[in-house]
Symmetry: C2
Subunit: 305 residues, 2 copies
């Protein structure tokens, strides 16, 4: 085990990536979830996306959700946008942390936005200066970075070339999305090695799905390689509607439980987070995949009775 970081920054994506991939829930429920998460000590929350309501009805009320949510000054809130129209809505709503997405695999990108990866990269190149002009920071999320459900393995070089391009075009931050849970410790190691050769200092966030049980093993590997930023969704909410077979995001409380056991700080109160996961379960009205939600943390003992 290499030297581990002393602290990790978690971005909570349950309200957006999570709820976007569940059956639609009422506006008030979304607001309650964001507010509960804002009180856990988490430093970053992906709050909403500004997408076309016909494409993604789950986010049709993004403006109202955001208007009603408590804005905790200790939290950095972000919004995801699919295009220029969404970016304008996000800016008008007051967001200054904006995420845009492109898939590393052409087939997945076409399925997702009906454009080639190259076309999406051109769109991003045009969008970044507009967002910068408005005082926003731009994160480019590279989806299918660890594999594509249609094309299979995605060569690390292909992902690295996308990083080259978007960094040159002004992206402030990069995220790699394991869209359908094809990531493994080996793939994490291979991709990070390749990217770090050319972008040693680029702010990099990893986003894992636990589709095949590997999410915490992937995070452990990434920690050993010095990564200190991860996405996670409370309760393990969400999946990917465009990706057959995908299950939810790695559960935030499973990540925090692991990190705290290793002595790595997150700033998050695990009990408060589990409370937010209980709320998430109540909101979607079904069991969620999080083991720490079901069983509690390892420190929660049972009376011998």
């Amino acid at each position: 085990m290499g030297a581990m970081p002393e602290a990790v920054s978690i971005r909570e994506v349950g309200p957006r990536d999570g709820l976007q991939n569940e059956e639609p829930v009422p506006t008030a429920a979304k607001v309650r979830l964001i507010d509960a998460l804002s009180a856990t000590g988490v430093g970053r929350i992906e709050a909403v996306s500004f997408v076309h309501p016909k494409a993604i009805p789950q986010m049709a009320d993004a403006d109202e959700v955001w208007r009603r949510a408590v804005k905790n000054p200790a939290v950095s809130y972000s919004a995801l946008v699919p295009n220029s129209r969404g970016a304008q809505r996000a800016l008008a709503a007051g967001f200054r942390e904006i995420e845009v997405v492109v898939s590393a695999s052409d087939t997945h990108n076409r399925k997702n936005v009906n454009r080639s990866t190259a076309e999406s990269l051109d769109d991003i190149a045009a969008l970044v200066p507009v967002l910068h002009e408005a005082g926003a920071r731009v994160e480019v999320i590279v989806s299918t970075a660890f594999g594509c459900p249609y094309e299979g393995d995605v060569a690390p070089e292909r992902v690295a070339a996308i990083v080259d391009r978007v960094r040159a075009d002004g992206a402030d931050r990069i995220a790699f999305g394991d869209t359908t849970g094809m990531g493994t410790p080996r793939r994490v190691r291979e991709l990070l090695s390749r990217v770090r050769e050319r972008h040693a200092d680029a702010p990099l966030l990893l986003h894992f799905h636990n589709t095949r049980g590997t999410a915490l093993a992937n995070i452990l590997t990434a920690l050993e390689l010095g990564v200190t930023e991860f996405d996670a969704a409370v309760g393990g909410l969400g999946g990917c509607p465009y990706a057959p077979g995908a299950s939810g995001n790695v559960a935030t409380e499973e990540v925090v439980h692991l990190l705290h056991d290793m002595g790595i700080r997150t700033g998050i109160d695990l009990d408060a987070l589990i409370g937010a996961a209980e709320l998430a379960r109540e909101i979607v009205g079904k069991e969620l995949p999080s083991g720490v939600l079901r069983a509690g943390p390892r420190t929660r003992l049972t009376a011998a009775g």
Copy 2:
């Protein structure tokens, strides 16, 4: 990442530890599952336990299950026994690989067998020569080795002292059971370091439950420390009836999927194993926690259609 082993030996425990902790299923179903597993290439199968039928009705038909199962000469089959009576039944049935159990934490041992850890260790000391005399090899499974749901953390020294004792008493092999999924990469590292100081060469097997999502991260850590033997249960069958909050064993197909992606051989045909997991799901009549069962391996692509 340290040097990884080239090959790993998996012991499939679904027929025993898995089915013992599910609702009882018919004898014929147990036989079918063992036979399906025997054809996957797995080298070891924990087939049955010889326990009192009132205590564990799921294993009341152990003799008949074993009589009817195909004995593949390429597979080493084992049985778990709680006491001398069970050991005699296992020997009479023809088993020569016998597992006995003791919990590292006194409270768990008392809950499990109504005896102190020290009393169970004395029982094992008396049983080992009897089993050796009959030509059997004895594995001592140390339960709650990574934590006890009643007592909390279990000091690595306590587990190491049990290893000292049972090795001195003639145990051929040692297993550490993460009975309620309290294991984490940190705990794996701490326990193995302590035990390896004094028993560098003892055959050691690790048994993880995925209660809090950490099982594959724990296995990854153990691989880095040179461990090459792991228990796993097809489909993620089973839990622990004496341990509140416990969910199932780590799923064999998730372990094999991870190992093969790392280039580590197991001798197991993953497709055949997933077939056995489908059978396990059919037998227990409910969804099982295995992600690789639900989503398929990462190499199974979706038609772009």
